[in-house]
Amino acid sequence: MYIYDKFDQTVVRERVAAFRDQVARRLAGELDEDHFRPLRLMNGLYLQLHAYMLRVAIPYGTLSSAQLRRLAYIARRYDRGYGHFTTRQNIQYNWIKLEQAPDILSDLADVQMHGIQTSGNCIRNVTADHFSGVAGDEIDDPRVTSEIIRQWSTFHPEFSFLPRKFKVAVTGAAQDRAAIKYHDIGIQIVRGPNDEMGYAIYAGGGMGRTPVVAPLIRAFLPQAELLSYLEAILRVYNRYGRRDNIFKARIKILVRDIGAAEFTRQVEEEWRQIRETGVNLPAAEEARIRRFFAPPPYDSVTEPVAALTQARAANPGFARWVETNVHTHKVPGYAIVTISLKPPGGIPGDATAEQMEAIADLADRYSFAEIRVSHVQNLVLPNVKQADLFAIWQALGKIGFADANSGMIGDIIACPGLDYCALANARSIPISQAISERFADPTRSAEIGPLQIKISGCINACGHHHAGHIGILGVDRAGEELYQLTLGGAADQTAEIGQLIGPGFTAPDAVDAIERIVDTYLKLRQPGEEFLAAYRRIGVAPFKEAAYARG
């Protein structure tokens, strides 16, 4: 993974000092809250319902074991002993004291971490495929591109006061595991007409109250010209994105209002004028960054792993976990492990300091000291020997993270909701807990197969409900929390926005309705047909009917 040199280290150190200065001015009354807000937000510090929340950047979801241990330390020292991994591959702490925030940033800087641009109307921490560098279907490791974007976007002189937040995601494979079409800019690494490496660029996607699947604005951008093209997009957006209405200020509204073709024309015209002005990264610097992402020293494994076969045969629970949580690695004899942070009845994405430390130990022992955070709020051990899988599964069992539910109905994305968030209309966590408990039986979950449930506690859609195979949106109706259901959403390369099926349910009724929808799928599916495929074939009608057919 990328390791800071003295320049990167100096930037985060100076950032700590600058933020300490800002906090001191706020506490002394030199800064009022209105003017302090954008400053603290650019450092990931929110004011929530009960306390400050600090969001720490985990650039493109890549962590070292030492960094994860530091995150555990911060949870214990400054928070209530746990942290919450988010849909943007970051971690947030919900019980932070403003006076301590500079010290936390200093502790983070020790391990090359920070909270820079995890919030605010700026270019946010860039996200990428959590299987970067280890997936077999990858054209190139998206972390190289992501690190280039991280550096380019950090304290950008021109684009730090945008109309609204701005999110960039990168995938290196045709199989989109980073939901790129729901981002302000989605970048897919592709091969050009002469097999050269480059990018397909999508722009103007997003969730929120106006969900949009991003249109393609450039089918092929040469790799070396990435930064000038991004700069052109940002410049058009910064100049012409709406600033009169916060709900219409995202780039998706600009692209929609002037049309993707006209937007593209403006970007290309701007790009023509800046592509030779020294914005692009020199090849030598690209090569320097790329070296950090060289494969680790894998052992050569030529024989089938007999121990794995035996353990699967002897232990059905382990066999189920291998089915769902272990993924094909590009190197023979190795595997990718998803550690589910979704125990039935748990809070999606939450991990205690002890759990984080145990996972850091596993990474040291079995995965070249590296961990990934997925946008589905799970952790990943990217480089595991197949022969070690059983030992890892047993160790995960001891910390309560051995559930065989990655990609399954219990693998729920949920925003913090009204339990924490000042914007929420309804709670997300309790309904997530109720659903995961309802479908906790692993045999039943395996029978249902892949099914993504995503829950947002308000229209801002932080829980990605628009992209859920089953989406749940919490609303407030005259003081009562109700939950609307959407069906058929998808976040991958077949991205689609889910369809609202009708009026909202109370929380208990919503769980029952989901069960009836699932039962309807089981009844109507063809052999081997997954939920989303069945829904796309059959359409909404029988599912909607079942949802409202109270027993």
């Binding site: 040199d5 320049f7 930037v11 100076e14 950032r15 954008p38 684009f159 004028q273």
Partner: protein
């Protein structure tokens, strides 16, 4: 209001403004340095250039800097008027004026902004700030010198990290 020239590495000091804003309908005194709103400038530029000693124009976030291009070599000052401090359009306006249209005069930020924004401003080509009485020059001095390195090439003189790396200064 006092004016502060800004450049990295320098301690900012306030000085009295030699420019005056003309009131609506007010004619410039002979040889005065006058600032007029962009709308007035568009209709009266010839008279202004003929009478005043120097002409400055004030633009807001919504104004298109391309429209100023015919007169840039004759303008002594362009004021970027921040209606609200969040209006980031003016950072692009500043860069375009400097980089694309090669404006050489004073580029001044005025209105509602934070000392903490000054570093972004000077990197975008702003050369002076119009500040109120409460504006802390101490804070400004700390803020604009808070960072010794830059990831992006821009309009200030601080070292750019990629250049340092290419020179082999990294480890």
């Amino acid at each position: 209001m006092p004016v502060v020239n800004v450049a990295t590495g320098e301690t900012p000091a306030a000085h009295a403004d030699s420019w005056v804003r003309l009131a609506e309908g007010e004619a410039p005194a002979a040889n005065a340095q006058v600032i007029v709103p962009f709308a007035r400038f568009k209709t009266e530029h010839e008279q202004l250039f003929a009478k005043a000693g120097a002409v400055g124009v004030e633009i807001g976030g919504a104004d298109q800097v391309e429209e100023l291009v015919p007169w840039l070599s004759r303008l002594g000052l362009i004021v970027l008027q921040f209606g609200v401090f969040k209006d980031g359009r003016l950072f692009t306006s500043a860069r375009l004026l400097r980089e694309r249209f090669h404006f050489k005069g004073d580029l001044r930020a005025a209105g509602d902004f934070l000392p903490d924004q000054a570093i972004f401003m000077l990197r975008s080509g702003v050369s002076s700030l119009e500040v109120g009485e409460k504006f802390s020059l101490d804070t400004l001095a700390r803020v604009i010198n808070a960072y010794s390195l830059r990831y992006q090439r821009a309009l200030d003189a601080q070292p750019v990290i990629v250049d340092q790396r290419l020179r082999g200064n990294g480890s």
